[in-house]
């Protein structure tokens, strides 16, 4: 899978969603990089970043990157606009179980009541554990639970996928 090609497909596919009332919010960390790229490519005034960590259902059971010492500093939510009444597009690199999206929606509603929320992802890898779907996916594939897939950002800012 070519991450740069998928990003270009996503950008073209989301073109019709652009409007003065749309707020673009990247889910940390992969989705936040995608939002930064869209900001550059489209000259967006401002973008948001949202973190799932405060609402994750596995926070107490196994901790996560915000509870483990030595992990990189926790990503925190930054929404530089009034959430109430906004039309929000959430961006994420990989859609899998849906648990991150569930947590992110809870996080988002802590800041206000949006008018609408849509989800756009680079890859929908199947394997959902909750009734959530993306409104736009640049690619849909089926991967086994033993495989992992995540976006990484190279030093020059371009995207690539890490698979295990």
């Amino acid at each position: 899978m070519n991450a740069e090609q998928l990003y270009a497909d996503l950008r073209d596919g989301l073109e019709p969603w652009r409007s003065s009332t749309t707020q673009w919010v990247g889910i940390a960390s992969g989705g936040a990089w995608m939002a930064e790229r869209l900001q550059q490519d489209w000259g967006l005034d401002k973008i948001g970043v949202i973190s799932s960590s405060m609402h994750r259902d596995d926070y107490l059971r196994r901790g996560n990157k915000t509870t483990k010492p030595g992990a990189s500093r926790p990503e925190s939510t930054d929404l530089p606009f009034d959430v109430t009444g906004s039309h929000i597009v959430l961006l994420d690199d990989v859609l899998y179980t849906g648990r991150t999206i569930r947590a992110v929606l809870n996080e988002l509603f802590d800041y206000g009541r949006p008018a609408s929320v849509r989800l756009a992802v680079l890859v929908d890898r199947g394997g959902r554990e909750l009734p959530l779907q993306a409104d736009f996916a640049a690619q849909k594939i089926q991967m086994s639970p033993s495989e992992s897939l995540r976006l990484i950002r190279m030093d020059d800012g371009t995207f690539s996928f890490e698979t295990k």
Binding site: S53, M54, H55, Y59, L60, G63, T66, T67, K68, P69, G70, A71, R73, P74, S76, T77, V83, T84, N106, F109, D110, Y111, G112
Partner: protein
């Protein structure tokens, strides 16, 4: 000897003292707290991380601010909070500390926040609890007040970014201060360049230099060039014997005024754990001045207590 604050994986299960905690755990608490500090930007100032957990505030010694900030922190994390006025209940009927604790544990507590006038009481409690119950020390005797130490670190990091170039002066009644001890251990672990303790010989214990701090008996020497000045409360209620001629004399020698604050760096911040005795250890003009960060300390205290409770609750103690 095994550190009673950590499980076999090196994870924090109780917060009893800043002494003996590795740097990565201190930094992790501060990072998590910095994240929680932004909760005030939200319309809903509540997170579900301790939903279904019960926090018991066990204050064997009086405190308003610390108990309240623990209560706010726990409720912001969606825990249920029980405040026990221990001084007026079982202890006065002759029940032993460990019997009280065993009974409360049987009421399905998850976290005990303990303040006690005897140094070491939270350790004793932690040793006698099942592994899923956590203890957070909210101040024990003259020994430690780790969440105050950590909120001081968060405040310093917020204003000064990095500890490695800092000179921090801790001024006043160091002898009776558990805050001073918790600050010193945290500062040295976090790599603070120079820590000074400043006060009269009767209020600065002679063993202080062994902690890696510089002992100064003159205020001018102590705060000259300092980036951070932490004023301590003169603890009249803990004074016995003639440690001081009078609080007026103390103010003349060690009280911080705007004029004396000029000795410190021009961008130095002034901190105080509260409650403040205006005109005893610190002049009103300094408390209310532009260099004072005393009220931000209180706000950071909530974020630190949220971080500590959410971190210990996520980690399981070792089975006996």
């Amino acid at each position: 000897m095994k550190n009673p604050q950590l499980n076999k994986n090196g994870e924090l299960i109780h917060l009893l003292s800043t002494e003996g905690l590795p740097k990565d755990i201190l930094t992790h608490i501060l990072d998590t707290a910095a994240n929680f500090a932004s909760i005030n930007d939200r319309e809903v100032k509540k997170l579900p991380l301790l939903r279904g957990k019960t926090v018991f505030n066990l204050f064997f010694e009086n405190s308003t601010r610390t108990r309240t900030t623990f209560e706010i922190a726990a409720t912001r994390l969606s825990a249920d909070v029980m405040n026990l006025d221990i001084a007026r209940s079982s202890a006065s009927k002759g029940e032993s500390l460990l019997d009280t604790i065993a009974n409360l544990a049987a009421m399905a507590a998850d976290i005990f926040v303990v303040r006690h006038s005897e140094s070491g009481a939270p350790y004793l409690i932690a040793q006698h609890l099942p592994p899923h119950i956590h203890v957070v020390n909210a101040g024990d005797g003259r020994h430690a007040h780790p969440t105050q130490g950590l909120l001081d670190m968060l405040t310093i990091r917020h204003y000064k970014k990095d500890f490695s170039n800092l000179t921090v002066a801790i001024v006043g009644d160091v002898l009776h201060s558990r805050v001073a001890r918790s600050d010193i251990h945290a500062l040295t672990t976090l790599g603070c360049a120079e820590v000074r303790v400043v006060g009269p010989k009767t209020l600065v214990p002679s063993d202080m230099a062994a902690l890696g701090v510089r002992v100064c008996h003159s205020l001018q020497e102590g705060i000259t060039g300092a980036d951070v000045v932490i004023m301590l409360r003169l603890q009249n209620e803990r004074m016995s014997g003639a440690l001081l001629p009078s609080s007026h004399e103390f103010f003349k020698s060690y009280g911080l005024t705007q004029e004396k604050l000029q000795w410190a760096k021009s961008d130095a911040i002034v901190m105080h754990p509260g409650p403040i005795n205006r005109g005893v250890e610190i002049d009103s003009a300094v408390v209310d001045g532009v260099q004072s960060v005393i009220l931000p300390q209180v706000s950071f205290g909530i974020a630190v207590r949220m971080a500590v409770m959410s971190i210990v609750a996520a980690n399981e103690g070792d089975a006996a």
